[in-house]
Symmetry: C2
Subunit: 170 residues, 2 copies
């Protein structure tokens, strides 16, 4: 196999990171645009009869992104109270949700602060382990790194965006 | 910035590719499991009132994956007739769909043959241009490569999987 010079390889590492972050950002922006477009009433509806509401899914996405702070060692969750409502408990279990305008502020804050952290990260940082894997396991499974979390979170955002999109024009 | 040795960098390139392909495969398998689990009747239903049917979305995912053959220079589409039905035309426009058992065979074939091609590709191959970008544009925008297409297709599969999942247990 041809071995490329180290500088080319460094360029390719940067390219991989750029592509992954850009995909994450794309779906993040699409969620933002969708919730801005939907009325609060539409967002509070079920995505299909008997299924999750848009509000629950939106809160769920905020809580999942907020969990990246401790997972990546950026600090504490900004809104730790969301975990109980939108991660540990299913929709319609009687827990009171924050009002939709509040949720929109949380979404903005979480994503702005995450993006600030992401901007300063090198490819080496991205390939380093996250806080849910032990050093021992990471030595054997180096794909359990931060960038891989972002790849999975991108698909997760996209999965629920696909559902929330069904709330449009009914 | 610390420059890692070329061998480490080559390892990291392989790792990036492994993570991206593995994410693609994960969502591919989840679509397979879902369509195996749903009855043909359930799959033919609308994912939400007035929205696309599961059959249309399934055909759409097959056609999109099938388009990777010409896009990546692997050869012709296996099922070129699907493009008109599932890409160029919206659902419920009167075009006859192939029967669901046929679609399942197409899905398997397309994915098996794609996976065979993917297995032989080096990181360098993945970072090479696809056939929808000119050499000139690619020189300026090196992120328009094959791996980036896979990242986007992973989210696209995930988006529609999220919708098709709503067909479960009604």
């Amino acid at each position: 196999m041809k071995t490329a010079p180290a500088t080319d390889q460094l360029q390719s590492d940067k390219l991989f990171v750029k592509m992954a972050i850009s995909a994450w950002q794309t779906y993040n922006d699409r969620v933002t645009k969708l919730v801005e477009k939907l009325s609060d009433e539409a967002l509070a509806g079920e995505v299909a009869p008997g299924k999750n509401t848009g509000t629950y899914l939106f809160g769920h996405l905020i809580a999942v992104n907020d969990n990246l702070f401790p997972l990546f060692g950026f600090g504490e969750n900004l809104y730790p109270e969301l975990g109980k409502i939108f991660l540990d408990t299913p929709d319609k279990s009687g827990l009171k949700f924050p009002a939709i305008p509040e949720l929109k502020k949380y979404w903005q804050n979480v994503n702005r602060k995450l993006t600030d952290h992401f901007t300063g990260m090198t490819p080496e940082d991205w390939l380093s382990k996250h806080n849910s894997v032990s050093a021992e396991d990471f030595a054997k499974e180096p794909h359990r790194n931060k960038l891989n979390v972002i790849l999975n979170r991108t698909s997760h955002q996209s999965y629920h965006l696909g559902q929330m999109t069904l709330l449009e024009k009914r």
